[in-house]
Structure formats: C-alpha cells, structure tokens
C-alpha cells in the first residue's frame, strides 16, 4: 500500500506543477488567486498522504487542518480586497 500512496503523491505533485502554470502566468490576479486556491487544496491532500506514508497521520492531520483554514481565509481576504479596490 505504501508504494501506491507514493505513486499517488507523485501524481499530485505533478498536478501542483500544472496548477503553478496558472498561478504564475495567469493573465490577471484573479486567475492567479484561483490557481493558488487549487494548489492549497492539493497540498492538503499531499500532507495527509505524507502522514500515511510516515505512519504519523495523527501529527500531520492537525497541520493539514490549519492549512485548509488559512487557505480559506486567505482567499476570502483577497476577494474582499479586490472587491474594495474595484479594479483587476
């Protein structure tokens, strides 16, 4: 099973690299925000997979919960800022 988790984890890392294209070259800041948000979700899953591989999931689960929380708050704050500034 560990081998399977590692293969899935590597696949997720490749997906993160693909999302990084949108986060880097996205035409506007909104596209970049969408890319960053997608990367955040994938990173959460990668953290949990790492926890399973190292057999310390009770440690990694707290970190991934904080990661999900900060990802959400960051996106909402960015949306508020953009809405207030009124231009992209």
């Amino acid at each position: 099973m560990t081998q399977f988790f590692m293969i899935i984890g590597v696949g997720m890392c490749v997906l993160v690299l693909l999302c990084l294209y949108r986060a880097t070259f996205g035409p506007t800041i909104l596209n970049r925000a969408a890319g960053i948000s997608a990367i955040g979700t994938k990173t959460l899953i990668i953290l949990l997979l790492m926890g399973v591989i190292y057999d310390r999931i009770d440690m990694f689960i707290d970190i991934s919960m904080v990661y999900a929380l900060l990802n959400f708050i960051g996106t909402v704050v960015l949306a508020k800022y953009l809405e207030r500034s009124g231009e992209v």
Partner: protein, 116 residues
Amino acid sequence: MIVKDVLVILFMLGGFFLFFTATLGLLRLPDFFTRLHATGKGDTLAALWFLVALAVHHGFSLTSAKIVFIAVFLFLAQPTATHAISRAAFRCGVRPWTLERAVLLDEDTVEQGGEK
C-alpha cells in the same frame, strides 16, 4: 483486509481522476469564471474522496473523526471562497465568456481569457 485495500485504491483513483480533470479545466478553459467552476467543484469532491479513502484506511479512531471534521470544513469553506472570489471578479467588471463576444474580440484578447 483485501476488501479494505481495494476500497482505498478505488476511492483514491477516483479522487485523483477528479483532481486531474479540475486541473485540466483550470489550464484549458477560456475565461476566469469557467476555470473557477472547474476547480471550485472538482477540487472539493476530489478532496472528499481522498479523505474518505484515508478514513477507511485508518479505521475507526480519533484520527478518522478529525478527517471527517476536515471534510465538513472543506465542504463549508471551499464553495464560500469560490463564491467570494467570483463575486469580487464580477464586481470588478469581468464579464463571462460567450461565443459571440469571443468572435467579436480579436485573437489576442481571446488568448488572454476574454477579460473585459
């Protein structure tokens, strides 16, 4: 034991497929709203499948309860974040991509995602 492993593998492959399609949509769809629609829904469901797979793999314990908490939190937070940022985009004057507007605009603007 073998049933559990098969369940975990099936759930993880399903989640990976959903993540892959969400990323494909983020890269290939024409404008901001369609890209957000791909990731906003695809990522949420894919994360749920991964979390279910991990909970099944770990068995019944405090850790799987925390995994359920993460799933509930993601299902509340992810759509809200998507809604907030798409609303901000609409307020900022980004208009959705349509075929008629894409024909009217020149090739360069279509490449840029049909913004403005």
